[in-house]
């Protein structure tokens, strides 16, 4: 399908049409800051009303990851007593993620790789394959914490079905897949004209000039720089401020570590095995029976996270482990920044 144009005023009707077919998740306004009412806080939600969709959003605490991989997910159900008869719980229904920023599109690709690799995880993948992604291009960085340009997530080439580019009172609509074509059929669009193409081009140029590199080196050197920093005193210094609260991991769109536990109904008749997000920054994460904890020190845990994001995940999945969205820094009460850390280690040894 050739590029189309959707008038901003027709967005609501499109969302409504999409909602008639399946659930639609999109950023909505969550609240305004108590101390500064102009400071708007957004969050991803299944949309209750098309009018709530806010494509002018900047950052969210959690990314759209939660729709693909719920924070708490039941894996297996079984009976207690004689016949356990364990069976997998794989629940999914078609849904649309509307307005996914480039960093999150990239992050989803990392999760796809992690969950499809070696032993595939149908609990994630079934939801994923039932997901349509409508991307939304960014013209300027969300805030100081973002460094998506550095992490190579600003220009995703795939991982979306449709890409929207905001052009003032309209969206430039590019279709990337067959599914995307079906989605756009539900919208009132018109083919893009030459002017639209030019406006789109202008957006791209402006985007190029609005984003700046923040790391003093190229991404491809990051694993090496991390390796060289393993014994650096930097980790100890940063970790002194770290609460080991796990907020950074929970907010991260590419983190996929989890804990597994069993839940039993009060009448003791049935149970299920559940997984929930876990965090490598928490004390007991690497502890084994006998009390041995292989990452007892805050500093070693913090280092592990920085390594995982900058090196291990890349080595494991072939996709970036950090997309530079800045969520961990925003979520961190101590103000620990992965971007600043990556800058700092370049000069440390």
């Amino acid at each position: 399908m050739l590029p189309q144009v959707l008038k901003t005023s027709d967005l609501g009707a499109w969302v409504e049409a999409l909602m008639a077919e399946s659930r639609v998740a999109a950023p909505v306004l969550k609240e305004t800051n108590v101390s500064d009412p102009t400071d708007l806080k957004f969050g991803w939600q299944y949309v209750p009303d098309p009018a709530d969709v806010r494509l002018d959003y900047t950052v969210t605490v959690l990314g759209p990851k939660k729709f693909l991989w719920p924070p708490r997910q039941k894996l297996v159900r079984y009976n207690l007593g004689a016949g356990a008869e364990p069976e997998a719980i794989i629940d999914h229904e078609p849904h649309v993620l509307l307005g996914v920023h480039p960093c999150d599109i990239t992050a989803i690709a990392t999760l796809d790789a992690a969950f499809a690799k070696d032993v595939p995880d149908p609990h994630y993948l079934a939801r994923r394959s039932d997901t349509a992604i409508i991307g939304l291009d960014c013209g300027a960085p969300c805030d100081e914490s973002s460094f998506c340009l550095d992490m190579g997530s600003l220009y995703p080439e795939s991982g979306f079905d449709v890409m929207l580019t905001p052009l003032g009172d309209a969206y430039f609509v590019e279709v990337a897949t067959q599914l995307g074509e079906a989605l756009v059929e539900a919208a009132v669009v018109r083919p893009a004209t030459k002017q639209d193409m030019e406006a789109h081009q202008a957006f791209a140029e402006e985007k190029r000039s609005d984003f700046h590199y923040k790391l003093p080196y190229e991404l491809k050197y990051l694993p090496e720089i991390l390796d060289a920093s393993y014994d650096s005193l930097v980790w100890e210094a940063i970790a002194r401020q770290c609460f080991s609260c796990g907020s950074c991991n929970i907010a991260c769109p590419t983190c996929y570590c989890f804990d597994v536990y069993d839940e039993v109904e009060v009448d003791l008749s049935k149970g299920c095995r559940v997984r929930r997000y876990d965090s490598c920054q928490l004390d007991p994460f690497a502890e084994v029976a006998g009390g041995e904890n292989f990452r007892q020190e805050r500093a070693s845990r913090l280092r592990h996270r920085m390594f995982r994001k900058g090196k291990y995940i890349l080595e494991q999945t072939g996709r970036v482990g950090c997309v530079g969205c800045g969520r961990c820094e925003r979520a961190c009460v101590a103000g620990i920044s992965i971007k600043d850390t990556y800058v700092q280690i370049a000069g440390s040894r």
Partner: protein, 251 residues
């Protein structure tokens, strides 16, 4: 444990809100009533027994009489469960511990203060061995049910050992610190979700006590960056006592 274990509920100095949280389990209590006998629960019925398999005690020890009672209760009990902040970390009762005890009594009862002797508020574990702790002011009904389920199955209950931040992020809340409000969630033991304060837009006030191994130094540093004085910080931490000890030590 006998075929049908016996459960008992007691309260010492407290608001009895934790027992209300037990009642708030509503129909979910029914399967428990099938599996166990509640032999003592004054908020719902009367009756008593000589021995309890599991006893839930809410409230703090604040008088010599409370001290006697908890020892009696302990002697009749197999598994003692401390219910709520008052019982686990002394809760709000301990606020008075940081004032002159005589002045405290005089302020409320004037020249009749001698009629009402009291001792420093303390949690159950300060006087008797406690087997399971359910934190919170008030406790979370879901956690209560989980503990009872574990006890009925004979498996140990493991309390959450991570800070409130985790659940707060999972709920997608905007961090209160980002809104300029110092919140104790970073060092407070989780387990209150989904009814946690930050989800209602309010800072965590630390009612579940400290998580194991908290970085209180970082907490103080961060609070200082927010322009809070040591006094402010202590006051924040002091509301539910448990938290106070750690910070006071370092202050």
């Amino acid at each position: 444990m006998a075929d049908k274990p016996t459960l008992a509920f007691f309260s010492l100095a407290c608001c009895e809100g934790c027992q209300l949280q037990v009642l708030a389990c509503e129909e979910k209590l029914l399967p428990i009533l099938e599996k166990a006998d509640i032999v003592r629960f004054r908020e719902a019925s009367d009756g008593d027994a000589d021995h309890y398999d599991v006893t839930f005690v809410e409230g703090s020890i604040v008088t010599a009489h409370d001290l006697e009672r908890i020892k009696e209760i302990r002697a009749k009990t197999d598994t003692l469960v401390a219910l709520g902040a008052c019982a686990t970390i002394a809760g709000v009762n301990a606020v008075k511990n940081f004032q002159d005890p005589d002045d405290v009594a005089a302020y409320v009862y004037g020249d009749k203060k001698e009629w009402f002797p009291h001792i420093a508020a303390r949690p159950l574990k300060a006087e008797v061995p406690v087997d399971v702790e359910i934190h919170g002011c008030p406790i979370n009904s879901d956690e209560f049910l989980e503990v009872v389920t574990c006890l009925l199955m004979g498996k140990p209950y493991r309390q959450p050992n991570y800070p409130v931040c985790v659940d707060c992020k999972l709920a997608g809340n905007v961090c209160l610190w980002n809104k300029g409000i110092p919140c104790l969630g970073v060092v407070t033991r989780a387990g209150c979700a989904p009814l946690m304060c930050p989800s209602a837009g309010h800072k965590c006030i630390g009612c579940r006590g400290l998580v194991d191994n908290p970085n209180t130094q970082a907490a103080k540093d961060v609070m200082a960056e927010f322009g809070l004085t040591v006094d402010d910080v202590l006051r924040e931490f002091r509301l539910f006592q448990g938290i106070y000890d750690e910070v006071a030590k370092e202050a």
